[in-house]
Amino acid sequence: MQKISVLLFLAWIGFLFYAGIALFTSGFLLTRLELNNHSSCQEPPGPGSLPWGSRGEPGACWMASRFRRLVLVVIDALRFDFAKPKLSQVSGEPPVSLPFLGKLSSFQKILEIQPHHARLYQSKADPPTTTMQRIKALTTGSLPTFVDAGSNFASYAVAEDNLIKQLTNTGRRVVFMGDETWNDLFPGAFSQAFFFSSFDVRDLHTVDNGILEHLHPTMDSGEWDVLIFHFLGVDHCGHKHGPHHPEMAKKLSQMDQVIQGLVERLENDTLLVVTGDHGMTTSGNHGGDSELENSAALFLYSPTALFPSAPPEEPEVIPQISLVPTLALLLGLPIPFGNIGELIAEVFSEVEDSQPHFSALAQASALHLNAQQVSRFLRTYSAVAQDLQVKELHRLQNLFSKASADYQQLLQSPQGAEAALQTVITELQQFLRGVRAMCIESWARFSLVRMAAGAALLAATCFLCLLVSQSAASPGFYFRPLLIPVVWGLTGAMVCAGLLAATGLKLDLVVLGAMAAVGSLLPCLWKAWIGWGSKKPLTALLPMPEPVLLLLLIRFAGFFSDSFVIAEARAAPFLLVSLVLLLVAQLHWEGKLLPPKLLTGPRFGFLTPTGPSRHNGLHALGLGGGLLLCIRVSGLFHRCPEETPACSSSPWLSPLASMVGGRAKNLWYGACVGVLVTLLAVVRLWLRHYGNLKSPEPPVLFVRWGLPLMVLGTAAYWALASGADEAPPRLRALVAGALVMLPRAVAGLAASGLVLLLWRPVTVLVKASTGAPRTRTILTPFSGPPTSQADLDYVVPQIYRHMQEEFRGRLERTKSQGPLTVAAYQLGSVYSAAMVTALTFLAFPLLLLHAERISFVFLLLFLQSFLLLHLLAAGIPITTPGPFTVPWQAVSAWAFMATQTFYSTGHQPVFPAIHWHAAFVGVSEVPGFTWLSALMVGANTFASHLLFAVGCPLLLLWPFLCESQGPRKRRQPPGNEAEARVRPEEEEEPLMEMRLRDAPHHFNAALLQLGLKYLFVLGIQILASALAASILRRHLMVWKVFAPKFIFEAIGFIVSSVGLCLGIALVMRVDGAVSSWFRQLVLSHQRAGEQSSLVYTGAGSSAREAQPHLLPSCSQEPLAPGTSSFYNLKP
């Protein structure tokens, strides 16, 4: 009952946090308001005559169309410098031979031969630079906001007015081939379409070859007005190899040929547009707003002359969305309603007419149309939403009316000077640019009420965690009073919700959850506060000791600075190292570190050591040093955040398959396999040290035989994955099959191991032996026939004695008087053995999702946590009967370490840094973004959160585990020997984890306390990131740093809380299994009608020489009266 209430309470606390997170998120990550208005031909954007009186002409709309047809080629991630020529002309600098330079030579050729027909621009994409957002921007001309970035792989249809919709409205036939994302955005909009899946980024050629297959037949058939190609090869090549790989050169050359082919086939009424949707970083990723990601190439070409002048030396920089109004007017379409882009003015010059005046007039009229449309949009938008700045809006409207008036005036007097036209053009451009800047500034709308309520809920839950965890440490703690208000609150909220639903009010699920959370939180908080406030001051609540509080505060404050969030990969180990040094210093300060004889010199004899040190001091010092070294080494596996200029990511984070040198690859592979074997050996050594490897239970057998199989499978998978490209063609199918099957096999093995562990978690070796416990005979093993008289003299009496005892034992058994001794070994470490085994089973599949060389970090993770647990155990006193506590420094260090491992496994809290390749482990073909791939990517990203949360109960268990080492190493002081002989068991018996079992109430309270403390430490992190995101919501870095950090923290918190509950549930399962095991044991012996006695052994790795001792103080409830229990240790 208690166990269930502990778990329920923790789950409820988790629910409170989730409700707070959800409430905050719903207020913080709001989308820009999407208007559903549409432009139409019949309705001009503003008053005034349309230029050229074009209303009556066929195929003309707001403006006469210049081109009847359009070929739009989107080459994903075509960075601007991919279109540059080779840098051989640049004087002064040595020619750099980058593989991507000069490959798109057809651009340069066209620009040189036909300077008036073509133009190359550097188009600036707005962040977020993910493909879906860019496609949306390229068709609607607006600024897709951040929330869409999250739905990149499950995109939704575009509801706003867009080019494709305008095209289909005017009856144009749009043919599309390429990236499947377009199908999600514009379902059913194309007259003919060939979609290819975009998710498999390792596949460079399928999409492109598919397009090429259909390109020429479609183009020659002539059944199209607009042709759109979206090539993905360049982007995938960037993701897989990076821009500096020779593969990129091949890909770009292929694109060049495609463009050449298209140019040759173009007819005079057709416009060709080649553009990249975004760029890529030097590592080939995108999504952020760095210079390289933003800049994309844009190339316009028309078979007839389009531009009045030759192209400038350095291509002009224009915003990406400029393309939308330009294309709309060139094709004779209305500009999409929500467009805020400014058209490319020079395209609208009259080329045939040599008079500059007409050219300028044409430009001005096009710009005026554009400005009218933007102004109409602004009016409509500001009537619906209030998020645009009023002052700026007024200024812009005034600017527009002035420019518009000037323009009308010029139209009245057509002989106006060219200079006046130029001023109008400048004014219109100023207006358009001002609008764009204002929109970028303010298009993130927040619901402050929800944000504040969410943050308040988070804070209140943190406070509740603190209150309850402190009161759980007190001896008179009861669970029942806690749960009652929770139940009442939840029922009340349910009833409320039911009533509301019955009355027909539509209620948001988030709000409903938050209401339930608040309804149940308030009575509980009140109750806990009443229980607390009367007794003690408030400061006693805080995490003590003070340095730990300080470290937690620093961590809390660090979330409010973008520099610290970016540098968290360095800051988290810094804090962890500080905490470790603090622990060592504290041990020394309290005199536990070094043996007292060092301190008590002749002069300072009055100094009395505070207590006998349980641990060797140098041992603790060594632990600290080892820990620091581990932390430093795992810091070498560091991935740089994109903003830091002078920082290079660790080369060890990339998979082995991307390495070029064969020898180095082999060496690394060997090292990785070595690490795997070491990991296996470490776990086995640990289990052997505590003796749990001797047990015949199935989980142990699985550890003995299943784990090596898993290691083998992982090693084989790595070998195949890193050399898959080099496999001979005949074996390709086999290798591909093995690549799919091996990870599945390992995951299956791990899952079956976990199931076995849950089924039989008690890993105990039971040996039943007859005879009184104290008179055990020792038989020398048989070593051949006796050869000498001495042997005979020794052996014969033994045989005699043995027979005698056997006989006596039988006699006693028939009389049912003699106690039967059951020796149960490894009971002392039964909980932690189950935990460690479970963690190992969890770690292997997670390891498989990472790149090969990250296995070093996993090994370090195990070592690190082992050392930390030992170091913490050195400072935690064992309070035998009373309430057990887990100190704050332990919990904080654990949380810091989880954060540190998150970074050292090559992660960063930004979206481009997510390891998407994890979704392809053990998957043959990717149909799309399924929940399975989401799960795998999530498991890869939050592996450290999961492992540390599940392993959290070890913090409670470990001090008891370490108990066995103290007495064994310590020599008995000479004075005590007589006493020790009388009552040896008091000195020698390490009860270890059985102490916890002896006090089940305190055990449960300690588990609750541990869970609450861990949730508190994680909770203040999520609270801090939420507060930072809300306070700094207008900060420059909010979408780049704070919002992703908040999202990562939130998901990490959810993973951690679930893992924590699972870990605690596992401990409880073991506890239940141990209880039933005792009961069965007693029952079976009672059934045999014998008085039995029980011997536990703690660290008895060898069962041969167990010397049982009576321990009267310990009582076992399941043992029937008349049986006595023994705890034992091998000498």
Binding site: L550, F560, L599, L607, L628, R632
Partner: protein, 239 residues
């Protein structure tokens, strides 16, 4: 007795501060282009030399009567050599700790080592002067109830504050304010170390109060520093 000791302490610390201030101004008379920000490494060397010298002088003046029981030359020489070895060892061990703390292993070796040197001059040198090369005595002073005299008390507090100051000095490192003193990453350590050292020294007249009060002061001191650092973050954001 105690009052005179406190007075002596006060003068000693004032002298220390004075020497640090002197080390800023005096070298500009002898060296060209000397400034704290630009030639900070030189200044650090000079500063540590000054502080060491002051410590030695203080040791000779104040404590000479205590430790001159055995005055044979060979004893003094071995003692001096031992002190040097201890100092060197402490420099190297500090360097190792800094590297474990995350300082780069190969780049900025000189800066890191100079930091180790200056931290040694603020911690190890006073220890050597007061307690001599006696590691057991050091361990005793830095444990609970291990302090026997007011001098040791002062030693404990200054040393611990120096460590805290150095630790606090790491916090400006990741900031992207582009201030001149941030150019040298490790330099953050130095400034703060010295600042806190001075602050700790200025608080020395409180020493007649109990040790408890003084450690509290140090704690609050460090907290104030942290909060000011954080406060500057916020002001940075809103500007």
């Amino acid at each position: 007795m105690k009052d005179t000791d406190i007075k002596r302490l006060l003068y000693a610390h004032l002298l220390c501060i004075f020497s640090i201030i002197l080390s800023i101004f005096i070298p500009s008379f002898f060296l060209e282009n000397f400034s704290i920000l630009e030639t900070h490494l030189t200044w650090l060397c000079i500063c540590s030399v000054f502080v060491t010298a002051v410590n030695l002088i203080l040791y000779l003046v104040v404590k000479s009567n205590v430790s001159s029981k055995r005055s044979s030359l060979s004893y003094k020489v071995t003692r001096f050599l031992k002190c040097c070895i201890y100092l060197l060892m402490s420099c190297f061990s500090f360097h190792v700790i800094f590297v474990l703390y995350g300082a780069p292993l190969i780049e900025l070796v000189l800066e890191t080592f100079l930091l180790a040197v200056i931290l040694s001059t603020f911690t190890t040198v006073p220890c050597l002067c007061l307690l001599g090369p006696n590691f057991k005595a050091w361990l005793r002073v830095f444990s609970r109830n291990g302090v026997t005299s007011i001098w040791e008390n002062s030693l404990q507090i200054t040393t611990i504050s120096s460590f805290i100051g150095t630790w606090l000095g790491a916090f400006p490192i990741p900031l992207d304010w582009g201030r001149p003193w941030q150019v040298f990453k490790v330099f953050g350590f130095h400034m703060s170390s010295i600042l806190t050292f001075q602050m700790a020294i200025e608080r020395k007249h409180n020493i007649c109060r109990s040790l408890c009060v003084c450690t509290r002061h140090c704690c609050t001191n460090s907290r104030i520093l942290t909060t000011t650092v954080q406060g500057r973050f916020h002001s940075h954001f809103y500007t």
